[in-house]
Structure formats: structure tokens, C-alpha cells
């Protein structure tokens, strides 16, 4: 009798721990049954392609949120990186490495500035990154005169359009970023410090952790990944649009939070974020296939985000 309740409790604990994952399986299952086009290989490729950008940003956002911070600037930084990268990617201008390096560098610089202001000047992450969000967007518009950068080299376009064994390049880049994120966060000393800073910054400091360096690195990482996402996006649409990426920060934050990372810091995982990204991606795709208008999609998305977090919270108490 006792062992029976015990195993029941264990099962319940298992489900509550991986609740979000089961929610995703349920969602995908329902869509697969109700919508034949959903379960086609081309649609799955489509989803993998669509989630890549949000996924790449969300990995960086996961680290930021684990430190009890937030980065609102990633959407604008993505656009700035995209226009700078594409401006070096005209045919026969530079080797492919130049636009790629420039794009990532721009993101890295923006993120580092965020990090320095947050760590050294003790400004609230919300304020700093809100400022960066506006500034980066402004710089992107000034840099391009408000017009998209066009006429890009074939090699640059191939990043977003190519595929290996049917798996689109952007998804492979996302996969690479996932592996990098998992390695950094879960297998390195730095990753442990990220949790320590988010859980109790003062205690981390007393224990000899250079908390400023950890914070700056985390924002720099998030900025660099926004740069990567900017490159992927511009090569997919074969232009560098200065006005793109608005609202991307919110999708990334939503994915991270759905994945169980706590906005108050110290708790979270890459795996959770991946599930969060999948949920948002599959939901968008599914609602499209079910011919739900985009107006309704927003409503459904908002409700599902709050519902997911609510369920997650309940299961933990």
C-alpha cells in the first residue's frame, strides 16, 4: 500500500517536473491528428526553419534571465547586426567570413555595453536594455537611411536557404547554439556562476566569484547570439532590413519562461527553453494550418503563455 502511494507520488512528481514537455507532446499530437498537412515532412522542415531564429535568441535570453535579468534589446540588436552584416555581403566584396564576423561583433558590442552598464553602474537591466533597444534600432535606421540592404552574394544567401540531408541550415545553426548553450550553462564553471549570481549575487561575490564579469559575459553572449540570429534572418530573406525583429525579444522571453526559467533568477535550463521554443513554434504553425486568423492567433498565444506558466507554478507547489 505504502509503496503504491510512493510510486504514485513519484509518477506525479515526474509529470510535474516534465509537465511542459508533455504539454508540447500533447499539442503536437492533437495537431498531428487534426491536421494532415501538419504531419508532412515539408511542414516539419518549415517549423524547424521558423523556430530557429527565436531559438537562437532564446538560448542567450535563458542565461540572462537566470541571472535575474532581462534583455529587451535583442530584437533591435538583431536588426542592427543584420544591416551591418549585409552591408559587407555584396557580391564579390569580401570573403563570407567578413559579414559573419561583423554581424556577430555588432551584437557582441551591444551586449557588452548592456552588461557593463548593468554590472558596473548597477542600472536595472530593464532600463538599460530598453535604452539599447531604441538606440540600436535608431543606429540601424541611420546606417541604412531606412532602406533595406539588398544585392547580397550567393554564398551569404546560402546560409539561410541551404540544407543538409533535408535539415535547413538555420536549424543546424540553432542546434549548434543549443549545444554551445548546454555546454556553457551546464558543464562549465562559468555556467555554475551564472546560477550563483542569479540565486544570490552577494553570496556569490563573498565566495570569490567575479560577479561583474559573469554579468557582462552573459549580456555579451546574448548580444552575440542576437547577431547570429540577425545573420540567419537576413540571409533567409536575402536582404538586410533595418526595421525587422520588433517583438522578437518578447517571443524569446515567452519561450524561456514557458520553459520553466524563473524571472526572479537562479533557476532554469536550456532544455526547458527548447521546449518553450517548440511550443511557440508549433502553436504558430498549427494555428496557421487551422486557418486561424493572425488576430486570433495573438489572443490564443497570449492565453497559452500565461496558462503554461500558471500550470508550471501549480505543479511546483
Amino acid at each position: 500500500m505504502e509503496t503504491q502511494t510512493n510510486s504514485l507520488q513519484k509518477t506525479a512528481a515526474f509529470f510535474s517536473k516534465y509537465g511542459i514537455f508533455f504539454a508540447f507532446v500533447l499539442l503536437a499530437g492533437i495537431l498531428a491528428v487534426t491536421s494532415p498537412p501538419f504531419r508532412t515532412w515539408s511542414n516539419i522542415q518549415n517549423i524547424l526553419q521558423q523556430i530557429s531564429m527565436n531559438g537562437i535568441i532564446a538560448i542567450g535570453m535563458t542565461l540572462v534571465i537566470i541571472t535575474a535579468g532581462i534583455d529587451l534589446s535583442v530584437g533591435s540588436v538583431l536588426a542592427l547586426s543584420a544591416v551591418v552584416a549585409t552591408s559587407f555581403a555584396h557580391p564579390d566584396q569580401h570573403a563570407l567570413i567578413v559579414p559573419l564576423a561583423m554581424g556577430i561583433l555588432v551584437g557582441l558590442v551591444c551586449g557588452t555595453v548592456n552588461g557593463i552598464l548593468i554590472a558596473k553602474k548597477r542600472l536595472a537591466p530593464f532600463i538599460v536594455t530598453l535604452g539599447m533597444m531604441t538606440v540600436a534600432r535608431g543606429v540601424a535606421l541611420v546606417y541604412t537611411g531606412g532602406r533595406p540592404v539588398i544585392n547580397l552574394s550567393d554564398s551569404f544567401d546560402a546560409i539561410g536557404g541551404g540544407s543538409v540531408c533535408g535539415i535547413p541550415f538555420p536549424s543546424l545553426i540553432f542546434l549548434g547554439v543549443i549545444l554551445l548553450g548546454v555546454f556553457i550553462l551546464h558543464f562549465t564553471r562559468f555556467g555554475r556562476y551564472v546560477y550563483a549570481v542569479g540565486g544570490n549575487e552577494l553570496a556569490a561575490k563573498v565566495s570569490g566569484v567575479n560577479t561583474d564579469r559573469v554579468l557582462i559575459s552573459v549580456y555579451a553572449f546574448a548580444g552575440a547570439l542576437a547577431g547570429v540570429a540577425g545573420i540567419v534572418l537576413s540571409s533567409r530573406i536575402m536582404s538586410g532590413p533595418p526595421a525587422t525583429g520588433t517583438g522578437y525579444e518578447l517571443d524569446a522571453i515567452a519561450a524561456v519562461v514557458i520553459g520553466g526559467t524563473s524571472l526572479s533568477g537562479g533557476i532554469g535550463s536550456i532544455a526547458g527553453t527548447i521546449v518553450g521554443v517548440l511550443i511557440i513554434g508549433v502553436m504558430n504553425n498549427g494555428l496557421d494550418l487551422l486557418n486561424v486568423t493572425s488576430y486570433w492567433q495573438q489572443i490564443v498565444k497570449g492565453v497559452i503563455i500565461v496558462l503554461a506558466v500558471l500550470l508550471d507554478k501549480k505543479s511546483k507547489h
Binding site: 558543464f187 562549465t188 564553471r189 562559468f190 555556467g191 555554475r192 556562476y193 546560477y195 550563483a196 540565486g199 544570490n200 552577494l202 553570496a203 556569490a204 561575490k205 563573498v206 565566495s207 570569490g208 566569484v209 567575479n210 524563473s262 533568477g265 537562479g266 533557476i267
Partner: protein, 514 residues
């Protein structure tokens, strides 16, 4: 206190509160069973027991925060239904929690009348003038001098506590529960609190007093009820008990040796502070500590003890003075530098400065020495790390389900051991402990004293800041007393006793300092 003796109170006061046969279990684990508590009108009734004895559960039941499984509660011999905190308040039961939770952005008067603001006529518009007057009236009655218009955030902890007490009284309380009311105040403020408590007593209000500080219990309590492991043990007049007898009731065995013997072997001077000054916090602090010595730092809260230690450890920069390790001057501008000089700082207040409560036992234990468990300085070697964490758990006998248990769910004593383990893993030579036993039960205290004595016995240098004179007297070879950021005295073990230290801590030094 100008309260006249109240002739209407008979000697054998009737029970204002009678709790009988109270039981409560949380998911199958009995927290309380068959517990009774009888409190007379106008008495200070101390509720004693180790952490986990069931004191707080019993008080949560009394204040309507958690429902009981069985048992009856009578208030003035009338059966009471305490189904919510509001119901308890309406019946005159107020609780002042250990962690004060005022609305900091609001004024003193607004906090006191929160939820029961006096309004104009039948409107919902707060009559601020009346609220202010009522507050002043309450303050006058209790001899409190705090301006009602000050913001809560500007008050000291002691002042906040006074406001909380006034607030409790303002509910027409018959019973006020005080949970560790002196955990954040010292000396004069405690005396003030006790004066107020005596005033409340004279008005016939019963106080249920929870504290780990034995000397306070004997100063203020009339009656003592002891719980152990969720069971009722005994109720006795305080006058019939002494320190040892009370400890025996609480732990169920006699702790004949709470303090291990002092280590006789001392080495050369390992740590020295010269003329350390940080303007506004402390001035001209100098002391030397030998290997194998336990050096105490006493003083009231706010005397600058913690500030000195945190400056020494590199958390802030000193304006003047220097620190020497093994006779050589060292520059310590960050905790990382302090750690390189093989120092350790076990901070006061585990939750704020010590632990990442959201992380596991292992992650907390290895935090300060994480580099040792990596390849290439970055890649974690989990096998080595787990092994080290398990080793410390066993060595310090940390009661945990395993290294992956989240630290938040451990008891206070075990949390403190986790902080100790983190630093011992670094094999430090100079160990600074700031209030190492605050808020933990006697059993765990004894274990921590033993660890401290062992470390000194191994020839390490120990500096211990403590507000509990008992442990300074029991453990230290020498003690430095600070008063308002300055050294007021230093005593050898042979020369110190409770009285001289207390006097020096109050800034009243007649005895010659060496």
C-alpha cells in the same frame, strides 16, 4: 514604566488561552501531536524547543495561518474558531513575525492602521489627521517616540519592531505572539522592548514569546512551556528552572559540555590588522591573532564588527590601515584575493550573504572552490565535485537527503553547516565567522562549536564575531570589544567575564584594556 499595579488582576489569573490536544501533520509527517498550552492573562509565556520542535506550527495554528487536525482552542474559556488570520485578529490574537514585513513605502501611521483606516463619516476617504492622532495616542500610551509621518523605510529594525508591536496592540489584542523579537536588535533596544512587554503585561495582555536566547527567556518569562519533536514536554514557572534544566528539557539529554575545551597550543601571529579605518563605519581597528587561537569580536549590533570583517575580506575598500598575513602586508581588494590568501568568511545572515537557497547542497558547497573541480579551469569534473561534496556532507554530518537537495529545504543548522563546508573545502588558514550560530538550535550549535574548536586545534586562525556572550565566553582565547566603530577593550580569557564585556560593549570601559 509608569504603569500602576493593576489590583483587578487576581493572583491565580484565569486562562486567557487554553489549547488542548492539538495535532497537525503535513503530508503524513506529524508536526504536532497531543500538544497543550495554557497561557494566563498578563503573563509572558515562553515557548521553547529546538528548531523543528513544533513551536512555529503551533503558533501558526493559533494565529489562523494553518488549520489544525485535532484539538480545541479556548479563549477566555470560550471555544474559538480560528479559521483564518482575520478571525484570529478579530478574536484578539496578534502575531509579530520574525521577519518584519511592513509596507516600506508607507508611513508609520499608515502601516499601523493598514486595513482599518479611520475614515470620514460613511465614506472611504481616509481621515489622515485622525489616523495621525490615534497613532500618537497609541504611542503615548506605550511610551514610544517615533514620528507617525516617517516612512517605514527610514526606520531602524528596532523601530520597525516597535511599530509592529503597537500595531499588534491596536487590534485590541489579548494575546501577542512574538517570534524571535530580538533576533535583529541588541542591548538598549532589547531593554526597551522588555519595558514595553512589561507594560503590556500590566494591561493584562498575554505574551507568547519565542526565542533561542536563554538569558532573555530568564529575564522576561513568567512561565515556560517546552516542546520537543512535536510533543508537549512540560510547563513550569520560569523561577523553577535554570539554564541547564531548561536545556535538558529541550534536548532531552544533558549537554554537559556545550563548549569543548580551549586549545592550549598557540603558534606565531598569522593575521594582523593595523589601524584599519573606513570613515563613517569604523576607525583605527588593530588586532593580532595567533595560529590556533579563537579570537572573539564582541559588541552591539551596529558597532561595526561585520563592517570590519567584510572590509578585511575585500568586500569594500578601507580608507586607511593595512592587513598582514603571516607577517607580510597584503592587498585584499576582492573576496577572490582574500581566498587566494587562504582566508574564509562565514557571513552573518545565511539567506542574504551566505547561501544560494535555490541551488543544491552540492552547488553551494563547491562554489568557493569550484576551480579545483574543473579541467582546463572551466570544464566541470562532476565526479570529483560530487565526491568532495559527499565528503563534506559526511564530515560535518549535514542532515540531507543527498547532495542534490535544494538548500532552502534544509533546517537552519544544516544550512549553516553547508556554508561552513563550502569554506572548509578550501582548506583555509584564517577563518572569520560572523554570528556562526544565529537562529540555529542548541544541538546544532554544540556541533558548530566543536567544529570551531577542532579547526583551532589544527592550528588554524579563527576570528569569531558574536552577539551571544555565552559563546564568546565559552570558546574564545581573547576578545576584542567594539563600540561605535572603535576598539573599546581587549581582554585575555583569564580577564574576561560577562560583565566586563557587556560594559565595554556599551562604551563604558573602566577596566584597563591590554
Amino acid at each position: 514604566m509608569n504603569t500602576p499595579a493593576n489590583p483587578s488582576l487576581p493572583d491565580a489569573s484565569p486562562c486567557v488561552l487554553r489549547m488542548t490536544n492539538i495535532a497537525k501533520s503535513y503530508s503524513g509527517m506529524a508536526a504536532l501531536s497531543g500538544v497543550k498550552l495554557e497561557v494566563a492573562r498578563g503573563e509572558v509565556h515562553a515557548l521553547m524547543g529546538e528548531n523543528g520542535a513544533g513551536k512555529s506550527t503551533l503558533m501558526k495554528i493559533l494565529s489562523g495561518l494553518v488549520p489544525r487536525d485535532t484539538g480545541e482552542i479556548y479563549l477566555d474559556e470560550k471555544l474559538a474558531d480560528l479559521k483564518s488570520p482575520k478571525a484570529a485578529l478579530d478574536l484578539g490574537i496578534s502575531m509579530i513575525h520574525q521577519e518584519l514585513n511592513p509596507v516600506r513605502a508607507m508611513t508609520v501611521a499608515e502601516n499601523i492602521f493598514l486595513g482599518k483606516e479611520p475614515c470620514y463619516g460613511f465614506t472611504n476617504i481616509v481621515n489622515r489627521r485622525k489616523q495621525r492622532e490615534l497613532t500618537l495616542e497609541l504611542f503615548r500610551e506605550m511610551d514610544v517616540t517615533i514620528a507617525p509621518d516617517r516612512k517605514m523605510s527610514e526606520l531602524s529594525v528596532a523601530e520597525m519592531q516597535l511599530v509592529e508591536i503597537v500595531k499588534a496592540v491596536s487590534y485590541q489584542a489579548r494575546i501577542i505572539i512574538m517570534d524571535e523579537p530580538t533576533s535583529a536588535i541588541t542591548g538598549r533596544e532589547v531593554a526597551k522592548l522588555f519595558t514595553i512587554i512589561r507594560g503590556l503585561k500590566a494591561k493584562g495582555i498575554a505574551i507568547i514569546y519565542i526565542s533561542h536566547k536563554m538569558d532573555e527567556i530568564f529575564r522576561i518569562a513568567d512561565t515556560i512551556t517546552v516542546l520537543r519533536d512535536g510533543q508537549y514536554i512540560d510547563t513550569k514557572p520560569a523561577a523553577e528552572l535554570d539554564h541547564d534544566a531548561l536545556v535538558k528539557l529541550m534536548v532531552g539529554r544533558k549537554i554537559s559540555e556545550l563548549f569543548p575545551p580551549v586549545n592550549p597550543a598557540k603558534g606565531e601571529i598569522a593575521f594582523e590588522v593595523q589601524g584599519l579605518t573606513k570613515h563613517g563605519l569604523f576607525e583605527n581597528i588593530s588586532f593580532k591573532v595567533r595560529k590556533g587561537e579563537v579570537f572573539g569580536i564582541a559588541g552591539l549590533m551596529g558597532a561595526g564588527r561585520t563592517d570590519v570583517m567584510e572590509t578585511v575580506f575585500g568586500l569594500r575598500r578601507a580608507d586607511a590601515g593595512c592587513v598582514k598575513v603571516d607577517g607580510r602586508e597584503v592587498k585584499i581588494h576582492s573576496p577572490a584575493a582574500a581566498i587566494r590568501h587562504r582566508m574564509a568568511l562565514i557571513t552573518e545572515d545565511r539567506a542574504i550573504k551566505g547561501l544560494n537557497l535555490k541551488a543544491s547542497v552540492r552547488d553551494n558547497i563547491t562554489l568557493a572552490g569550484l576551480k579545483k573541480f574543473t579541467r582546463f579551469g572551466q570544464v566541470l569534473n562532476f565526479q570529483k565535485e560530487n565526491c568532495a561534496a559527499d565528503g563534506e556532507i559526511e564530515k560535518l554530518r549535514i542532515k540531507t537527503r543527498g547532495r542534490n537537495q535544494i538548500v532552502k529545504t534544509l533546517s537552519g543548522g544544516n544550512q549553516q553547516k553547508v556554508v561552513l563546508a563550502r569554506w572548509l573545502l578550501n582548506d583555509p588558514e584564517i577563518i572569520i565567522l560572523d554570528e556562526p550560530t544565529r537562529g540555529i538550535d542548541i544541538g546544532a550549535k554544540a556541533e558548530i562549536y566543536k567544529i570551531i574548536a577542532q579547526l583551532a586545534g589544527q592550528g588554524r586562525t579563527i576570528i569569531m564575531v558574536s552577539s551571544e556572550l555565552e559563546e564568546i565566553l565559552g570558546l574564545c582565547d581573547r576578545v576584542l570589544v567594539l563600540y561605535h566603530g572603535k576598539i573599546s577593550a581587549e581582554y585575555e580569557r583569564s580577564a574576561f567575564n560577562q560583565e566586563v564585556i557587556l560594559k565595554a560593549a556599551m562604551g563604558n570601559v573602566k577596566a584597563a584594556a591590554n
